[in-house]
Amino acid sequence: MKRPVLSLLLLLALPAGAADLADGKLTINGFGGWMTGLSNGNHYGYANPLGSDTMAEFALAVIARPVDPLTVYVQPYFLVTREGAEAELDWAYAEWRFSDLARLRLGKAKMPMGLYGEIQDVGTMRPFLMLPMGVYGPSEMFTESMQGVSLTGRVESERGWGVEYDAWLGNLSYHVASPLPGVYGGGAEQGAQPSQALGSRLALLTPLEGFRVLVSGALGRQVPEEDATLEAGEGEESPLFGFVGLSAEYMTPALTLRAEVFTRMAEEDGATQTGFLEAAYFVTERIQLGVRGELFLSSPPGIPADSLLLSHRALEGTVNYWFSRNLVFKLSYGNIYGNRFAYSADYVADHQDGSLKPRTQLVQLGAQFAF
């Protein structure tokens, strides 16, 4: 209990805004949060039957402009969970601006995919504590960053029509977490899956303030484990994968509407379809209500098609209290059917004896901030 209380005190002591030094040549922003949850049996996110799982996170976005066309972005990230503490580098890249239409990025950058690809950890940018699992969870659809090269740009007319694009090529590392290997064998239940891919995102900007439509896609291959016992070219498999998706967003000061649909095809994993629709509305200046429906279905070869380990259907609601645009408390309820992302600690044994609960109900509480 001590860590969440300390985290809450930290949240309340935050500065009101970013640090802006040397006339904008150095800017420091940050974000973070804390959450915990209670479920009726299965584990889902940071909710478990005991309410004993919790997380606290913090990141500092440091942006420097040493000379005019050059910008350097660095973002260290810190996470504390029940398993321990970890620190990693979210971003570390340099950008050279040739023009508004062409900006070259080199290094480890956020993955420009979908609506939330670049802001996955910034809780003040969304109504719910957690992002939809099917698109942004451990489903090998998105990852947090890619290491390589990317090009981005934007053109917008005075009438409000415009296009913003991203094209990238690099190395990715997907976070994999699935109950399937434990039950049906083959592969690791958890871990990192390195990949190489190229991808793109195109956003259509419209004169309607707050409305945009995006198309995202990528094509890549999984990078095999190096095995010193193999001859060169022997047994080195690099299964191909690709995904494409459509996203739409409409935002006003009071209303947020977002929807995304994605399809993934992979040589070894088969097909995956997922999508969500979420809506949130400020009923008062500070109180926001939100609702989200989500669907996920996969069909890997060799797994019974009716297995609940392949599916995920979720209906969630949230009540949020915004102290300011920088700090929000969120209380959410979720009703989930399917065990792709929600399963018990002993799910292998529970699945074998038929006691794995197909339905998960949970309550999550947390706070998120940004400056």
């Binding site: 805004g17 800017t27 976005a61 802001i119 940018m125 981005t152 005075e158 645009r325």
Partner: protein
């Protein structure tokens, strides 16, 4: 008073309203640039795109350097509403999205008119705004065109 006189006075009052109303709606801010900036008039959409960094360059290709007042400033509220056509809170939300997705940084914020004036005097590609009463020696006033 005869009916004709009354109607005449009423008509005169109606004609005078736009003048009176126009005078009451004089902008609460002045847009300023460096004296070497060639622009004497700028379209509202151009100024808005520079301050929201949807466009980052002047016509000659040099990088524009917009500068804001603090978010509590009444002058900023007026400028944001009249030129950007948004509230200050909406602009802050816009910048949060742009910053954390690594897209752009907002213009620097200055606490007073004097600091904005000093910034514009020191940067040839700068554009800023100050309160209507602020003295503007050493900078150039720009007229906003719709």
């Amino acid at each position: 008073m005869t009916r004709t006189t009354f109607l005449s006075l009423f008509a005169l009052a109606l004609l005078a309203l736009p003048v009176v109303a126009g005078a009451a709606e004089a902008p609460a801010f002045k847009i300023i640039v460096h004296p070497r900036n060639p622009h004497a008039t700028l379209k509202r959409e151009k100024v808005a795109s520079l301050f929201l960094k949807k466009s980052t360059a002047w016509d000659d290709g040099t990088t524009a350097r917009p500068v804001d007042l603090g978010e509590e400033s009444a002058t900023r509220r007026a400028f944001t509403q009249d030129v950007l056509k948004k509230s200050v809170a909406a602009v802050k939300a816009y910048w949060q999205q742009r910053i954390f997705s690594g897209r752009e940084l907002p213009p620097p914020e200055k606490a007073t008119d004097e600091e904005v004036l000093a910034f514009v005097r020191a940067n040839e590609s700068a554009i800023g705004y100050v309160s209507a009463q602020a003295p503007v020696e050493g900078v150039k006033l720009v007229t906003l065109a719709e």
